[in-house]
C-alpha cells in the first residue's frame, strides 16, 4: 500500500469519515471513551510512581506528596479521577451493549447521558468528601 504512487483515482475520498457526520452524543462519548482510556494508560505512570515512592521511603514519598499537593498535581489528580470513573461507567455501558440491550434510539441516548452525568457527579462527590475529610489539605 505504502509503495503505491497516488493516482487521481486514489486521491478521491474512499468513504465518508468523521467530518461528514453531525456530532452526536453517542459519537462524542465513543471518542471520549477512547481518549480517557489512552489518558489512563499514561496515568499508570503516576500509579507506579506513587507505589515505588511508598516502597522507597519517606524522602521519595515526600517528593511525590509535594508534587501531588501542588496546583498542577491536584488538577492532574482531578482529571485522573474523572477519566477513571468515566471510563469505568463507559465500560459498563459497552458491556450492556455487548448483551444486545440498550441499542434503541431512546435507550442509547439515555445511557450516554447517564454515563456523562454519573462520571461528573461521582467525581465532584468524591472530591468534595475528600476535601471535607482532610480539611482541604490533601
Amino acid at each position: 500500500m505504502a509503495d503505491l504512487k497516488p493516482s487521481p483515482a486514489s486521491l478521491r475520498p474512499l468513504s465518508p469519515h468523521l467530518q461528514i457526520y453531525k456530532p452526536m452524543l453517542t459519537m462524542m462519548m465513543s471518542i471520549v471513551h477512547r481518549i480517557t482510556g489512552a489518558a489512563l494508560y499514561f496515568g499508570t505512570l503516576l500509579l507506579a510512581w506513587w507505589l515505588l515512592a511508598a516502597a522507597s521511603g519517606p524522602t521519595a514519598y515526600g517528593k511525590f506528596q509535594w508534587a501531588m499537593e501542588s496546583l498542577v498535581g491536584q488538577l492532574v489528580l482531578f482529571g485522573y479521577t474523572w477519566a477513571l470513573i468515566h471510563h469505568m461507567l463507559g465500560g459498563i455501558r459497552h458491556l450492556i451493549w455487548d448483551t444486545g440491550r440498550g441499542f434503541g434510539p431512546v435507550e442509547r441516548e439515555w445511557l450516554a447521558l447517564a454515563n456523562l452525568i454519573g462520571s461528573i457527579g461521582l467525581t465532584l462527590l468524591l472530591w468534595i468528601v475528600g476535601l471535607l475529610v482532610t480539611g482541604g489539605a490533601s
Binding site: G37, L47, A48, L51, A55, T81, L84, M88, G91, H94
Partner: protein, 129 residues
C-alpha cells in the same frame, strides 16, 4: 446454506481461527478484564481515598497489609492487561505504516514495565524489606 466460493472447507477456515490466528480471544479477554476491573476500580478508589493526607509510615503500613496488597495487585494486573489490549487496538486503528510493529512492541514493553514496577513496590511494602 450459502454458496461456497472457496475450495477450502468451512472446517479449514475456523481451524486456525481466521487471519489474526487468535479468533475472538482479544475481544473476550478485553471483556473479562473489564468485568474484573469494575469492582477492583471501586476498591482502588476507596483505598486511595482512605490514604489521602496520611504520612509515609501510615501509607506504607496500610499498602503493605495483606488484604490491601492483594486487591492492589489484582487491580494492577487487570488494568495493565486491559490497557495492553486497548492500546493495541488504538495502534492498529491509526498506524498503517511499517512502524506499527515498533509501536506494538513498545506498548508491550510499557505495560509489562508498569506492571512489574507496581507489583515489585507492593511486594516490597508487604514483606518490609
Amino acid at each position: 446454506m450459502s454458496k461456497q466460493r472457496s475450495m477450502r472447507t468451512p472446517l479449514a477456515r475456523v481451524r486456525y481461527l481466521g487471519s489474526a490466528k487468535s479468533g475472538t480471544k482479544h475481544f473476550w479477554h478485553q471483556r473479562v478484564s473489564a468485568v474484573a476491573l469494575i469492582p477492583l476500580t471501586i476498591a482502588f478508589v476507596l483505598i486511595v481515598a482512605g490514604l489521602i493526607g496520611r504520612n509515609h509510615a501510615a501509607t506504607a503500613q496500610i499498602l503493605g497489609s495483606p488484604f490491601v496488597s492483594i486487591v492492589m495487585m489484582l487491580f494492577v494486573i487487570s488494568s495493565t492487561y486491559h490497557m495492553w489490549l486497548g492500546m493495541q487496538v488504538i495502534i492498529e486503528d491509526y498506524i498503517h505504516s511499517e512502524s506499527k510493529l515498533t509501536w506494538l512492541i513498545l506498548n508491550t514493553f510499557f505495560c509489562f514495565t508498569i506492571a512489574l514496577c507496581c507489583i515489585y513496590a507492593i511486594l516490597k511494602l508487604s514483606f518490609g524489606v
